[in-house]
């Protein structure tokens, strides 16, 4: 927890200073998560504000301060979903989207061989975004929360309110699809 439970309790009672403290503690992390989920830096702040707006009006529904973080993650994921639904501009995966250079770079990064500058970072992001386009929106978000945000299955269970086994199955299938897309891109690259 980035803030004490007491701060959450005070915010629940309508203490604006406590709410500000929560926002200041969590906004950077929330914006990072949103940035990875929506992949559009210019809209990250707007979506993050929407998350804290929803938090403000739903704090009284929070059962216990102990579950605050999964609660905030859930609000974040939902706000990101809503944004993506409105925008409908999620990158679709097409093999032809990945240039030979991108596949080689991704391969080198995956093998731990590449030092990457800003330009390469941008290409890497585009490549992974394209690969993640091989799975559904929901699976992409789940995969990012697990593999990129680094949340445990137990944490995801609290966020999604779904049994751990169901999440495992879903994650496994999503990983398989992304791996298959990666493999296909590599094979096409090898065949020229």
């Amino acid at each position: 927890m980035l803030v004490d439970f007491e701060v959450v309790r005070r915010a629940q009672k309508g203490d604006s200073a406590a709410f500000n403290e929560i926002v200041l503690a969590y906004r950077q992390r929330t914006m990072g998560t949103i940035g990875r989920l929506i992949a559009r830096n210019e809209d990250v702040e707007d979506v993050a504000q929407e998350v804290f707006l929803r938090l403000y009006f739903s704090l009284d529904q929070l059962r216990a301060p102990e579950v605050f973080e999964p609660w905030l993650y859930r609000l974040t994921v939902n706000a990101a979903y809503d944004y993506l639904r409105k925008q409908r501009r999620r990158p679709e995966f097409r093999m032809s989207d990945l240039s030979e250079q991108q596949v080689m770079m991704a391969d080198a990064v995956a093998g731990g061989k590449a030092e990457h500058d800003e330009q390469q970072k941008k290409k890497l992001r585009e490549t992974v975004d394209s690969l993640l386009g091989a799975v559904s929106e929901a699976d992409r978000v789940l995969l990012l929360m697990k593999e990129v945000e680094g949340l445990s299955l137990r944490e995801l269970e609290k966020i999604y309110q779904v049994k751990e086994n169901a999440l495992k199955v879903r994650l496994f299938r999503a990983r398989q699809r992304v791996l298959k897309a990666f493999e296909t891109a590599e094979r096409e690259n090898e065949n020229g």
């Binding site: 500000n20 926002v23 200041l24 906004r27 950077q28 914006m31 990072g32 940035g35 990875r36 830096n41 990250v44 702040e45 993050a48 504000q49 804290f52 707006l53 403000y56 009006f57 991704a106 391969d107 990064v109 995956a110 093998g111 731990g112 590449a114 990457h116 390469q120 970072k121 941008k122 890497l124 992001r125 992974v128 690969l131 593999e147 990129v148 680094g150 990983r175 398989q176 992304v178 791996l179 298959k180 990666f182 493999e183």
Partner: protein, 115 residues
């Protein structure tokens, strides 16, 4: 299926590199003021909406009560007839009433065909 351990490791490395490559957006100086502006705006909207709904519900309740009172009020009913239906009918259509059942009157003027 792409199930090799090597494939999994590659994907893990790629996703780790992806996380490192994602630049985190910095909150602008207006983040907090804008957030509070949105909160206030939503709060005002919610307040107005609740106010409106409350007014509407009160009006509906008042109209319902008014209709209920109106319907339940005793009406000034006509007194029960002291004569039977048939008596009333007979009275209304009395045999003395010439225009209905009296003998047909034939009027002859002086220049009529009989002359």
């Amino acid at each position: 299926m792409y199930t090799t351990q090597g494939g999994d490791d590659k994907l893990d490395s790629l996703l780790r590199a992806y996380r490192a490559a994602c630049s985190e957006a910095e909150p602008s100086a207006n983040f907090m003021p804008d957030l509070w502006r949105r909160i206030e705006s939503r709060r005002n909207f919610t307040f107005s909406f609740q106010h409106m709904v409350r007014g509407f519900v009160t009006a509906v309740a008042a109209v319902t009560i008014a209709i209920g009172v109106y319907v339940s009020l005793p009406r000034a009913t006509p007194p029960a007839p002291e004569v039977t239906y048939l008596e009333a009918l007979a009275e209304a259509n009395s045999l003395d009433t010439p225009e209905n059942v009296g003998p047909v009157r034939l009027e002859f003027n002086e220049t009529g065909p009989m002359n």
